[in-house]
């Protein structure tokens, strides 16, 4: 174990970490930020999605110690971002949330898509969300939320 300093959501943070720890573990267990969820630890479910230097990745596959010097943004850090807010509203209105476990990951992924593309077609939408799993909703309402958020952002 040693002390690890990272840049998370615009601030310098520090906590004890094992050298082989994933960024996801560090965020949750080291920093107590539980927004990024841990389900598979193998990149399959997307519930740990974060932005690393502006790019959508799975925090479980990032070695925390190797993220030193990088800018990390988690779901918590997206609070106040207007695109994220539109996605969150749409998720609630369309019924895209059931147990809610997958929701932070979907919101981060959708906000990432809509930042780059305000008018995704059906295929682009499916491709953008292909790395996020949901065991409850059957996805249709999440896709509906995505369409609503995109429409709101275009308006």
């Amino acid at each position: 174990m040693s002390s690890l300093r990272l840049h998370v959501n615009g601030e310098e943070v520090e906590a004890e970490a094992w050298e082989g720890e994933s960024l996801l573990y560090f965020l949750r267990e080291g920093l107590g930020r539980f927004g990024s969820k841990n389900a598979c630890e193998q990149g399959e479910c997307g519930s740990c999605s974060v932005l690393l230097d502006g790019r959508l990745v799975c925090a479980c596959l990032v070695l925390a110690a190797a993220a030193a010097g990088s800018e990390i943004v988690t779901i918590e850090g997206l609070a106040g971002d207007p695109i994220t807010a539109a996605v969150q509203r749409a998720m609630v209105e369309a019924g895209g949330v059931q147990c809610g476990f997958c929701t932070p990951g979907f919101v981060v992924s959708l906000a990432d898509l809509l930042r780059r593309n305000r008018n995704p077609d059906e295929y682009e939408l499916r491709e953008a969300l292909s790395g996020n799993l949901c065991r409850c909703t059957g996805y249709l309402r999440i896709f509906e939320a995505a369409r609503r958020a995109a429409a709101e952002l275009r308006a």
Binding site: E19, L56, C58, L63, A66, S109, E127
Partner: protein
Amino acid sequence: MKVTVARSLEEALADPEAIFLAGGTDLMVGVNFGRERPEHVVSIRGLSELGDTSVGERVRIGGGVDYTRVLDALGEHSPALVQAARTIGSPQIRNAGTIGGNLGTCSPAGDTLPVLAALDAEVILRSPAGERRVPFSEFMLGPRKSARRPGELVEAVEWLDAGPSQAFLKAGTRNAMVIAVANLALVVDRARKAVRVALGSVGPTIIRALEAEDLARGLFEESGWERPLRPSQAAAARFGELAAGAARPIDDQRGSAIYRRHVVAVMARRALARTGEVA
């Protein structure tokens, strides 16, 4: 476990015993599940020396280039590699995973590997001793075994532009997030009158289907290399059979050997139809 974040090629190559970490999409799964405990990890993510993307008569993609950037850099160029990169994992995985990592892991199911075989690509390896170029055909030696020596970096891959008549096909249970049950790359280099077919996930290494290549070369010879090829049903079926015959598949949790052989034949026929149309 010691972790170094390399800021230059020199730093990256300083410890010949170190294990490289690029996107982490293979290595971190092993670390998370306690299967891998490297003593010294050297992060090479973002090293500019591994970030080349030059597209022209000779194409060069740096070992550290992730799939999203491969897609951006290639555009319509080398379409088989574009199609392969497009099928890898998910956006999250494509933003992290690199070509160097696919070659470093050297899984028989690695999606870029049959493409590199069919492009007749060279793997450029870098160590403190200098640069070494290994044709892909001599690079992969077995499942997770390659000619790469400990401490050697995959600096880049290079190939000669083979034109637009190329296809990559992959069989799996979904369009995304799938380890190939079988995959196939076909490159028809019309200018050089060459055909190369490579199969993945149906043997211990990537397999070139040489008899299928001969047959296709004959077909293009007959119909004219510069013209679209519309093979007869019988010729297409024979091409599929020869490709399937070259496969050496096993039964595993992802698919049976019989299914794999079948799907190779189907993919080969489709690849021939698609590349034939593009002249």
